[in-house]
């Protein structure tokens, strides 16, 4: 279980990293298919105003570097890493609300920017919309599955699959 603002890494093949009921938050999944190491950050907000305390995973700006550092410390190679992101929904739509209030969208943009800054292409993403998501990353093959109320469980990508290619450049 990856709680709000947490970062978790696993190299146990039977592990499944899970972020339950993401609303505006984003589950950032990274996977090293060669070393079979999985990591997930549960990002809550785009950027920090003050210090992040003991939850570096809370902000996109601090979560991505902290997630990559944790992966490296567990033996993952930066060049191997594959990435999928999901979440960033707008659960509550206010009439006439400004884009500033759409934290989900701002989270998605911030996460995408931070990944680009760290030269990490995104292999699959399911962001935005107005539906909550549960995101799971399977440690054995990098499978990312997404559960929503409307559509049940669907597979987003298998990050460990050799055919897995990134969607952006």
């Amino acid at each position: 279980m990856v709680g709000m603002g947490e970062i978790k890494i696993s190299r146990m093949p039977e592990d499944v990293l899970t972020a339950l009921g993401l609303g505006s938050c984003i589950g950032v999944c990274v996977y090293d298919p060669i070393c079979r190491i999985a990591g997930m950050a549960h990002v809550v907000l785009p950027s920090h105003v003050q210090n992040t305390g003991d939850l570096p995973g809370k902000f996109a700006t601090t979560a991505i570097p902290a997630l990559l550092e944790s992966m490296r410390r567990c033996g993952a190679k930066t060049g191997n890493l594959r990435v999928a992101i999901a979440g960033g929904a707008q659960i509550f739509a206010f009439a006439g609300a400004s884009a500033q209030l759409d934290i989900g969208k701002r989270n998605a943009t911030a996460v995408q920017e931070m990944l680009a800054k760290n030269n990490l292409p995104i292999h699959a993403q399911d962001v935005g919309g107005n539906m909550g998501r549960t995101v799971q990353l399977y440690s054995n093959d990098g499978r990312v599955s997404i559960k929503t109320i409307g559509q049940g469980v669907k597979e987003l990508v298998i990050l460990g699959d050799a055919k897995c290619v990134h969607v952006n450049s």
Binding site: G3, M4, V44, V49, I91, F92, I103, G132, T134
Partner: protein, 206 residues
């Protein structure tokens, strides 16, 4: 930006509980008048938890809930929401629209607008009661309604308050209908900056 929360002592918690109790009591009276049902309120539960420990205490994260959420501006900013298990919100909508409960299995446009209106009245009663007690003026904003996973609803509300703190303070009051299973809860999340204002308005040091 509103800074970080200062942990509350037992007396302050009691006062906050009492504020929430009075507010929720008034809002339940409004709900009872609209539905002709009697509701029983629990003692408000105050949680001050590390962000990553939420939404612990709010039941099954993936269960379907209906939430009417209203951000509160003014002297003591915060967030208020009425959250019901989906089946309960269908029953409530049926009551409000004068229909048979078994005829409302899903929420459509009409039910949403009825629930939103009720949310508006009920949350406004909550704020009016607190305002009378403290002399603080609140600005109610138009409510928004959502039907989704409980975890997604709660985390979306809490994330807004967590900008400068890794803890969140929440006050939850459960409601039970004496006749129907219309259980739900009222969530009040004061922003960190609201707490000194609330306590000082009652003559307490903070």
């Amino acid at each position: 930006m509103s800074g970080a929360y200062v942990p509350l002592d037992e007396v302050q918690k009691d006062v906050l509980r009492e504020i929430a109790n009075i507010g929720a009591g008034h809002s339940m009276r409004a709900l009872s008048e609209m539905t002709n049902e009697t509701f029983i309120l629990s003692v408000p539960e105050i949680s001050f938890r590390f962000l990553s420990d939420y939404p612990l205490g709010f039941g099954d994260f993936e269960s379907l809930s209906t939430a009417i959420y209203m951000p509160v501006l003014g002297g003591a900013p915060g967030h208020t929401a009425y959250i019901f298990p989906y089946a309960s919100s269908c029953k409530l909508a049926a009551l409000l629209l004068g229909r048979d409960a078994k005829d409302v299995q899903t929420l459509e446009e009409m039910e949403f607008s009825a629930l939103c209106e009720v949310g508006n009245i009920v949350i406004s009663s909550f704020l009016n009661a607190i305002s009378e007690l403290t002399g603080i003026s609140f600005h109610a904003t138009p409510p928004a309604i959502a039907v989704d996973m409980t975890g997604a609803i709660i985390s979306s509300i809490l994330s807004i308050t967590s900008q400068e703190d890794t803890h969140v303070l929440s006050v939850m009051t459960r409601l039970e209908d004496a006749n129907n299973p219309l259980d739900g809860y009222f969530l009040y999340v004061p922003e960190p900056s609201a707490l000194p204002v609330l306590f000082k308005s009652l003559g307490m040091e903070f």
